[in-house]
Symmetry: C2
Subunit: 440 residues, 2 copies
């Protein structure tokens, strides 16, 4: 093949019309659900100062970014996520924005990763955040919104579920084992986050290194295995109660009561049945401070469809002012795979409403008609080839499979009429009344 | 102010909800008009191989790009325009795509330029192209589409016009002066493109250098000044006729007849009045091969609102196969300025449909109602603060200015009723019939 490479860069996608229609379908459903929950759409630049991301996630994040120096010697990056831009933008107007602020957006994001199933270098995300409300009612509404977005595509209880967890319970759990310091807590949350993907031996090894005590490490491993299996408030309570080192049961009860409020809110919102209490969810990102959740396809061992949680410290860290916040993101890549698998995309709707064909003597009248129909909102094609006679135009028109073929012969036009042919009808109608006829 | 920089990088924009709504309004209007003309939406990656752009525009283009090396040592760039990606994507399927292929898209593009009025480092463009049709009818339809997009915003003949020009007429004109070689032609088209922005002395200087003959340069300058003022076919014909070196009048007549067809098509499409014949438009980019046009705000000396033309050689250059093509692009930056100036953006529609307030005893029923109304398509807010009593909720609700405030007291709910208060009405209705009530 001569000329340039036809394929996009690795990890990037071309959206031909059929793919673009599916992508836009997803965007439209996301947008419409977010509006019903009273979220307002915003957007920020795809290109941001690199420091915005390193400030949030540490310098290691650069490894995973499209990060560059621009011609003005600024360190810049293609955004890998939306939250830092959100905090920056809301940070500009913290004094005046109404609270809670409920914002969403639908944007492209970039990560320099090895492309694999469900993970590309460019992807779209739906992001929704509530800023300025510390009540668990905010967490609950956000989870209800996440569920509603999936329901909107026709996905039902048999297709997906939400796993709800809590970073504060994990922090209490670690405290019971004498782990208090921020860095140690972070390291152990890191081990907990990757628990599932590793062998007990390698976990034991890391725990021993952390605790500097192999007996304690074994105890932690075994009791944590039980806690990871807890699926009710009582089961969690029992784990803490049975925990050999002493648990702070008062702090636990306080936290469980907040979790109970969250579950009650989910019940009131009619979505409790979609949600499983499941502490195996830890969420990799260090900035979460409270309840966290992920959405999974049922029976799907793959990547999460969505994930989020509370991040009450990020505003203080980035813009120097404390502000409670909770948010989630859902990606288009895993969702597209799921909707294709479940055949939940709407059928192809690319057919135009009308194809106008004509004897070339009637070209002027035909083009005028096309423009009138377009102005009335119908999609209209006609042949752009000035040489094509009526027969050839008709052949082309039927190949395009429009809803209607409208024919203008000299004879018909001289009577101010046209022929209109649909899948099941064929009629001669007044040229003037065609827009009305089509509206029916 | 503590913390990170709150403003975006120079030349980039934050879209807070009010700005985002205006941006989306523009996108929706573009999309809806393109559909009526039977164009299908596509999209490609924001990040492309750098060679895609240098192959089209030469290595100088790198100066104006966000161009980098990625971690895999690929030379990449943020796309500065959509046409190369379009050619690459269509190039993959030249054998199977129906012809003509009519594609459009709405995408973000990036240029590393000094930010100034009407020109930013990131901007959105509406692109529409017809591939596989050499007839002037395609050029005409595309111009009609461009005009329809502006009309769709409520812009009228007093607000904008199209300047139509022809690169082939300029090539014939240069030929009359003995300029035949591609490189010379390119250089002189470059001078013609910047004619308006330069003094006659500096043009004379460049022309003398090109023609290596100051008498010929003066003659060219003076007669070209007349041709630049021609606004009719006859005036153009006269210029060529009077031209001292001999013009190829046969070739001229051939081309004028094609231009006449284009003008007739525009007449049939009902948009001839928006179009001025104006050879001062040359279009900077070297790849145009035929008719070119730009859209301008009336009385606006600034940047074009849109521009495009025929580029019949680009497919051959990039993908090694000849294919006629014509396209145009309209940007969001100049358009947004114009729509704001003419106050043609719709009023703020961010108000939610309902704000549900309640005595906390009725929280469960209220949240259920909120979810029912959301599922029916209404936007609904309620207080996420579990401590707020009815009075405080109402105060917050009225501050948010929803279309309706729905109140659930214990007494009302015990009778399965709710109060609904709009701008001009206040009623007690059955809880169950609320969705129906709101639909009216």
């Amino acid at each position: 093949m001569k000329g340039i490479e036809r394929e996009p860069l690795p990890g990037f996608r071309d959206f031909e019309p059929a793919d673009c229609a599916q992508r836009n379908f997803i965007f439209n459903q996301w947008r419409s659900v977010a509006h019903t929950f009273g979220y307002e759409e915003f957007d920020g630049p795809i290109v941001e100062a690199l420091v915005l991301f390193t400030q949030k996630s540490g310098p290691e994040i650069v490894e995973q970014l499209f990060a560059f120096q621009d011609k003005g010697e600024r360190a810049i990056a293609l955004r890998p996520e939306m939250t830092p831009s959100l905090v920056r933008m809301v940070g500009k107007r913290l004094a005046t924005l109404k609270r809670p602020t409920k914002w969403f957006n639908i944007t492209e994001q970039f990560r320099y990763e090895r492309p694999q199933k469900g993970r590309l270098r460019s992807f779209y995300q739906f992001n929704a955040d509530i800023i300025g409300e510390s009540s668990s009612a905010a967490d609950a509404e956000l989870i209800a919104l996440a569920i509603a977005t999936f329901q909107k595509f026709g996905l039902k209880k048999e297709h997906f579920h939400v796993r709800l967890s809590d970073r504060q319970l994990w922090v209490l759990w670690l405290k019971a084992f004498g782990v208090n310091q921020e860095q140690e807590v972070g390291a152990l949350l890191g081990i907990l986050d990757k628990w599932e993907r590793r062998s007990p031996e390698s976990i034991q090894e890391d725990l021993t290194a952390s605790f500097k005590d192999s007996t304690k490490a074994t105890l932690f491993l075994n009791t944590t295995e039980v806690l990871r299996k807890a699926r009710t408030l009582d089961a969690i309570r029992e784990c803490f109660h049975n925990c050999q080192p002493s648990s702070d049961m008062e702090a636990l009860e306080q936290r469980l009561s907040e979790l109970k409020v969250l579950l009650q809110e989910l019940e009131s919102l009619g979505v409790r049945d979609w949600v499983t209490l499941d502490l195996t969810i830890v969420r990799g990102l260090a900035y979460y401070t409270g309840f966290v959740f992920e959405v999974f396809g049922n029976g799907d061992q793959g990547r999460a469809l969505a994930g989020g949680g509370r991040y009450d410290h990020l505003f203080e860290k980035l813009v120097g002012q404390p502000m409670p916040a909770v948010g989630f993101a859902a990606g288009d890549v895993t969702l597209t795979d799921l909707l294709r698998k479940q055949t939940l995309f709407p059928p192809d709707q690319s057919a135009v409403d009308c194809y106008v064909v004509f004897e070339q003597t009637e070209r002027q009248r035909a083009l005028l008609l096309a423009q009138q129909l377009r102005a009335a909102g119908f999609s209209v094609l006609y042949s752009l080839d000035l040489q094509k006679d009526l027969g050839k135009q008709q052949k082309k028109a039927y190949a395009d499979d429009p809803h209607y073929v409208i024919t203008l012969t000299h004879e018909l036009v001289s009577q101010a009429k046209a022929q209109i042919k649909g899948a099941e009808s064929e009629q001669i109608v007044d040229l003037k009344s065609l827009p009305e006829y089509l509206k029916q």
